[in-house]
Symmetry: C2
Subunit: 326 residues, 2 copies
């Protein structure tokens, strides 16, 4: 097995975000739960899109944002995810490649169009997401290139990928390849509703296969169905090597073996759009981990990247994150 030459390879849904600002009452009127992600079918996606104001389209996808973030730090990253051979698929592929990420997954030549996520950003900078998965559901075990997984120190998986049933074979294959090659597997719980949908699978996965777990406070409480963060942290401490729990403006807590490390958030002059905060935290953390930094430094890199992305609209960095390393 050659030495890994990539820091991170990420697997996830390949999505273009469609972002518009919206008032709270628009979110409520459409039965959406602020701050969460809901899956929608074609009809619902069209209904919501018609109700949205003028939008901007920006490449997104949780794990893809993380891969772009790693590259933005000067790290090396790959991404595996499925688009269609349509205009939004071309946009997704262009953006992630031009961010410096290796992306070679073949686009689907038939079936549903490239996935999109309708993001409503309310005046409090919270984002409410309605995702039409489209072509992203077609990710298959065949799409997971063994050589790519073996090239990466860390294989990173998003919880969202448990939603399309077909993608599970791809995930299982990636996990097996990574572990057989002696690499680490990282995983994010993605979203509290996603945890609700897949709690048992996620608990089994974290116990058996995950070396590094990412979650926010609500997600980790949901995973263990407890209402006390301390208790959740003790539970997760026994399950995996490293768990990093993000707490918005309160920073993050990392538990690993007997260690508990609290790291503050990096202050932001004005929080504009929280889309991608967790994804970019993971990017900073994983970049640090792959480069042999301490867990505290990893968490600090996570805070730094998250602060950049919440200061503007869109879930990918607008300045090279490497330029923020002083």
């Amino acid at each position: 097995m050659p030495e890994p030459d990539l820091d991170v390879v990420a697997l996830g849904s390949a999505i273009v975000d469609v972002i518009a600002t919206a008032d709270e009452d628009v979110v409520a009127a459409h039965g959406l739960v602020k701050g969460t992600m809901a899956l929608v079918d074609t009809d619902r996606a069209e209904e919501l899109y018609a109700a949205m104001g003028p939008a901007v389209e920006v490449s997104g996808g949780s794990a893809a944002n993380t891969a772009a973030g790693v590259a933005s730090f000067g790290g090396t990253a790959g991404f595996v995810g499925k688009v269609r051979d349509d205009q939004l698929g071309a946009v997704f592929a262009h953006d992630i490649r031009s961010a410096g990420v290796v992306f070679e997954t073949a686009p689907a030549s038939d079936g549903p169009p490239t996935a999109r996520c309708l993001v409503l950003v309310t005046p409090d900078a919270q984002r409410t997401m309605s995702t039409f998965l489209g072509a992203a559901t077609g990710l298959a075990a065949d799409d997971v290139d063994a050589a790519l997984i073996e090239r990466a120190q860390i294989t990173y998986l998003e919880g969202y990928l448990w939603d399309p049933p077909e993608a599970i074979d791809a995930l299982r294959r990636a996990i097996a390849l990574a572990h057989d090659a002696g690499r680490r597997v990282a995983f994010t719980l993605s979203d509290p509703f996603c945890v609700d949908r897949h709690r048992h699978e996620f608990l089994d996965l974290v116990r058996a296969d995950v070396d590094v777990l990412f979650a926010n406070e609500i997600e980790i409480l949901s995973l263990f169905q407890v209402d006390d963060l301390k208790e959740a942290l003790e539970r997760v401490r026994d399950l995996c090597d490293v768990a990093a729990v993000t707490r918005s403006e309160h920073g993050s807590v990392v538990v690993s073996g007997g260690d508990t490390i609290s790291v503050p958030a990096v202050p932001v002059a004005r929080v504009v759009d929280t889309t991608g905060a967790g994804d970019l935290y993971a990017a900073g953390f994983l970049y640090g981990l792959a480069r042999g930094e301490s867990l505290r430094q990893c968490a600090e890199l996570g805070s730094l990247a998250a602060a950049e992305v919440i200061a503007h609209v869109g879930a990918r960095p607008q300045v090279p994150l490497a330029s923020l390393l002083a």
Copy 2:
């Protein structure tokens, strides 16, 4: 003829902007002239896109931006322009309709894809544009709905529309319909290279058909092939009722009959992206004109709208312009 119930109907290329930041040397390396618009074919568009960094997609198109700006002031506007029935065409149609603009032009069901404009924004906030016209070249006389033109006090045409030869019939028809209905025709010179391409047609047009002319300083100098703004202003004074010449941070000058009115620019904390400055100046001016404001007030509304749009990425307002009217 019923009273007009729209302030402005705009005809132009229906374009989605693909915007990325770029260093000066990237612009130079690709043989582009900073601050101008060049037409590109499919191959050149793909070559430039591949060389661009991660981008955002935002609906654009000069006259379409103006229509969206009129609506943003609380005015009533329509737009005529051609997209394909593809994903970017759906994005364009959604954005302009959700901005409150009447847009009923049927999309093309075959032929080239929806137009896109690759916009490179350099650190000095200047934009350099490479436009692939695609489906926009298919605008035909049939697409000009007589009832829509007759509904509008002012029919606004972009100079760019002289580039696709097929569109000229549509423009001629719109001008004839507007004048037959006793409405005013407004026109923008669009771009200095566009003036170079069509100087004679533009001079004839301004003389014969244009009631309100928009141009920036470089464009008006180019139109008359003079190097002194004063001389250009005297020349244009004789050709049309009203001419508004924008001068970036120096504001604008309006000439009409014996009047010459200078209006300052509205200061901006930080100029981020000048894309759309002229389009939004026209929006404010035309909104004022349709509402019976003085020429000075029209120019002030133009300055106000331009200031909003240059303070962020993208060529359409991000806040309702009506909210800026104090």
